[in-house]
């Protein structure tokens, strides 16, 4: 026993507040879905940070735009629309297999989940390839002027999200294929959730980089 501040303090484990179990948690589920899972919340947290990052790039884009009389600057060609629009369409379409594998995962249907995951992976790989081509559709090198730099910044920043999602979906597809799937179904559903975000957040970026130079 120790005396500190005039009151004896018990030490050792007897000092702890005794715990009296009155409720049993052993029949609570251990695999749940959606916002019942911490990784869903973690994903939302990362989404918030990533959305803030993209907003910073967009802020830079519109700030630089104000410095120019014409946009794109004189003698800088506007970006092509063809490849970027195909790429946008492929991205949106890739959400279809995403939705389907998420639904299959919630039904605990392994073959369907695996099938649609591989379909999603293929579409995302195509989207990634198209995004790489999109950089040359910008028709300007990143170092030509500030317009070029901010356009590249927006496209590249989002590209990191696309890449992350593609790789994550690929990883999950392999795991689902090769492992006992029970505990991974909810993670797979979250992967689809992230994909919706990743595509949704691209739309204002697409509008900014490819359409605004034609409207301003």
């Amino acid at each position: 026993m120790t005396v500190v501040g005039e009151i004896p303090i018990e030490t050792g484990r007897e000092a702890e507040r005794p715990l009296r179990p009155v409720v049993n948690a052993s029949d609570l589920p251990s695999v749940v879905y959606g916002s019942r899972v911490v990784t869903w919340w973690g994903t939302v947290g990362f989404m918030l940070a990533e959305a803030a990052t993209l907003s910073a790039c967009l802020v830079a884009y519109y700030y630089v735009l104000r410095n120019y009389e014409s946009w794109p600057p004189l003698r800088t060609p506007p970006p092509d629309l063809f490849v970027p629009t195909i790429s946008l369409v492929v991205l949106i379409l890739s959400l279809v297999p995403c939705y389907l594998f998420a639904r299959a995962a919630k039904r605990l249907d392994k073959p369907a989940t695996v099938r649609w995951m591989w379909a999603a992976v293929v579409m995302m790989l195509i989207a990634t390839g198209l995004r790489l081509m999109e950089f040359s559709s910008l028709n300007v090198r990143w170092d030509a002027n500030a317009y070029a730099s901010v356009a590249w910044a927006v496209v590249f920043a989002h590209f990191t999200l696309l890449l992350a999602d593609t790789l994550e979906t690929l990883l999950f597809a392999v795991v689902m294929q090769t492992r006992e799937p029970t505990r991974y179904y909810s993670g797979v559903a979250e992967d689809a959730f992230y994909s919706y975000f990743m595509v949704a957040v691209w739309i204002p970026c697409y509008v900014t980089v490819y359409l605004v130079p034609r409207w301003v």
């Binding site: 589920p29 019942r36 899972v37 919340w41 990533e50 002027n145 730099s149």
Partner: protein, 646 residues
């Protein structure tokens, strides 16, 4: 969620031997591995948080030495102790260290240590991510100091204005190292923020509905949301700066349409909330201390929560008050004066509530409470000096003078460091199991309190006297020598005070009186467990019945049993009302987070010198993350219960 009768081995209360076996089994499952490997692979939140706290204190000491050197140089006019190049590195690294390597990591680590215990859970939501965050932070800090010690320290100011920091006026790699240090610390901060938010949202003790969450936890949640929104701005800006320097982008080059003011907007949009990110956790610590040492729950819980949230939101609308001397439209500037004034209202309400708590309680002024009073005294000077700066006409005279270091140190030392030192004395017994010396605690408090005033009040006067800031020397005929000497003497007092504090810590670690579980008679759950807490925090998850968990129930605490004792399992509860919802298995110790952090380090550091580093390092990082996500060696899934959505 059943309430059926418990099997005999779960009703530990009547059988002391049984509770011991529960502790024994949990201890076996939750402990770290042995030796160095165990240290490197730990995923326990207390182990990681404690090493992060120690790391942050080490950076604090380094930044303090830098400050001491600067004050030594400025003590006399035209001193030749330190030349301009070295001095510019010192003030840049001092500011960057304090802001990025001490303040934010420190408050986040304190949160990562105490929030899980305060809310009644066993670990943070993502144990491996937590470890990853620490290693990334450490690598970023080591990078900065490797640069300083090889005379490649950044020298463009911690705020790194362009074009001075751009490729034309800052050749070499100094600024690039700074920019990359930002990336490391930003990743670490975002990781820690996500940990806090998700752990608090999903792993609270049953019965701890949102309106029963301790005020410290509320403060950390608000701060974490702010981190998620603000940090990406500085990371994006620093990445743009790095790209201007590395691959000739033109973000900030006016000759090619870029804009020096773009940097300022992006940076200050982050940096103003950043100071509130640093300050709000201090408010949370003060709430914890004031309740315990006034012997009553803090008055005005709802008002304080709402004030904290408003401060969080409002802080995003003030950034232009750092740019009043730039060519921005006048009318716009006046808006920021009003907004900056407005944030004083919730801050004031919070302080008034604490005074009301002390007033209606039975206060005792042990060291932690002394620091609270010191905080009120010092932070208010800082806040009032801030009003001078938010008034545009006065700001135009005082900005960029020594009035600024005076102001910021009053708010940072008063608003964050004093609460932190109070929290140190308050929670040291919980972390180490020993009490600190009250006598030495009071000595170091007074030395620091007087030291802060002697160091920084003269700086407020020097600003009014006309002395600009960020100067390595000043001429003798300015007449600024006397105030500068006084300020430097104050810095000496601060150093002595800190030394006494360190001695207190060392002696208490070695031979302080044993503390027991609850030396102060606290209200929150961390005082229910032994000191230090076991690796698994609670043998059974406690159930709370009121805002002050331990004061609402005297005697035994109701608890939840049924979590597995043969693997790491935590209880998850619903977000609003904290009803038990599901069980979740946690990973065992693993080396993968360290490997992933090293891969990230390779990517970002190589990228300073050659863009190929991003590609190669990125591939390595992907591999590490793949190993992370790859299922661990599976144990038999005998108790997997799946509940699909309806």
């Amino acid at each position: 969620m059943s309430a059926r009768p418990l099997p005999a081995e779960h009703t530990g209360e009547s059988d002391p031997k049984s509770i011991e076996s529960v502790h024994g089994r949990l201890e076996h499952v939750w402990r770290n591995g042995p030796g160095l490997w165990g240290w490197l692979t730990s995923v326990n939140h207390k182990s990681i948080a404690l090493r992060s706290i120690i790391t942050a204190f080490a950076f604090f000491a380094l930044a303090g030495v830098e400050a001491a050197l600067m004050r030594a140089q400025l003590a006399r006019p035209e001193s030749s102790l330190i030349g301009p190049d070295r001095y510019n590195q010192l003030f840049t690294v001092h500011g960057s260290t304090m802001m990025f390597l001490f303040a934010v990591p420190m408050v986040q680590s304190v949160a990562l240590y105490f929030v899980p215990i305060m809310i009644g859970t066993r670990n943070v939501a993502f144990p491996r991510l937590n470890a990853f965050g620490y290693w990334v932070y450490l690598i970023g800090g080591v990078l900065l100091y490797a640069a300083l010690f090889t005379n490649t320290g950044p020298d463009q100011g911690w705020f790194s204005y362009v074009p001075l920091a751009g490729p034309e006026f800052s050749p070499g790699k100094r600024v690039d190292i700074w920019a990359q240090m930002i990336t490391f610390t930003e990743i670490a901060a975002i990781v820690a923020a996500i940990e806090v938010i998700v752990t608090v949202f999903k792993q609270r003790a049953p019965g701890m509905s949102l309106n029963r969450v301790p005020l410290f936890v509320w403060a950390m949640v608000v701060m974490s949301f702010m981190v998620l929104v603000a940090m990406p701005y500085v990371a994006t800006a620093s990445m743009m700066l790095a790209m201007d320097r590395l691959i000739a982008t033109q973000f900030f080059n006016y000759a090619e349409g870029g804009d020096a003011l773009l940097w300022q907007h992006l940076f200050w949009f982050f940096a103003h909330p950043e100071v509130y990110i640093i300050f709000i956790p201090g408010l949370g610590m003060v709430s914890s201390i004031v309740a315990t040492f006034s012997r009553r729950p803090v008055f005005g819980y709802t008002a304080i929560v709402l004030s904290t949230v408003s401060i969080g939101f409002l802080s995003f609308g003030l950034w232009v008050h750092h740019m009043f001397a730039t060519p921005l439209p006048q009318t716009g500037q006046s808006f920021f004066t009003a907004a900056s004034a407005m944030i004083a209202i919730p801050t004031g309400v919070t302080i008034f509530c604490w005074i009301a708590t002390i007033w209606s309680g039975r206060p005792r002024f042990d060291t932690p409470m002394l620091y609270v009073v010191g905080f009120i005294a010092l932070f208010t000077i800082g806040g009032l000096s801030g009003l001078f700066l938010s008034a545009v006409p006065v700001d135009l005279q005082l900005t960029d003078t020594f009035f600024l270091p005076g102001h910021i140190h009053y708010v940072l030392l008063g608003g964050m460091v004093f609460p932190l030192f109070g929290a140190l004395h308050y929670w040291f017994p919980k972390v180490t199991g020993r009490m600190m010396s009250e006598r030495l605690g009071k000595v170091s408090f007074w030395l620091l309190f007087v030291g802060v005033n002697v160091t920084f009040f003269p700086q407020l006067l020097l600003g009014a006297a006309g002395m600009p800031r960020r100067v390595y020397t000043y001429l003798a005929d300015t007449g600024w020598g006397g105030l500068n000497l006084t300020s430097s003497i104050g810095a000496g007092l601060l150093a002595v005070g800190l030394l006494v504090l360190v001695v207190n810590i060392a002696r208490s670690l070695a031979a302080g009186p044993p503390a027991g579980a609850d030396p102060w008679g606290g209200e929150t759950l961390e005082w229910a467990v032994s000191s230090p807490a076991p690796d698994y925090n609670f043998a059974y998850i406690p159930i709370v019945h009121g805002r002050s968990a331990l004061w609402a129930d005297t005697g035994d605490l109701d608890a939840v049993s049924g979590l597995r004792e043969d693997r790491r399992e935590v209880l998850q509860t619903t977000m609003l009302d904290a009803e038990p919802d599901s069980r979740h298995e946690h990973p065992d110790p693993t080396i993968v987070p360290l490997l992933a952090a090293l891969a990230t380090g390779v990517t970002l550091i190589w990228g300073i010198f050659d863009p190929i580093g991003f590609a190669v390092g990125g591939a390595l990082t992907f591999l590490a993350l793949g190993a992370w996500g790859w299922p661990q060696k599976t144990k038999p899934n005998t108790h997997e219960i799946v509940e699909v959505p309806k």
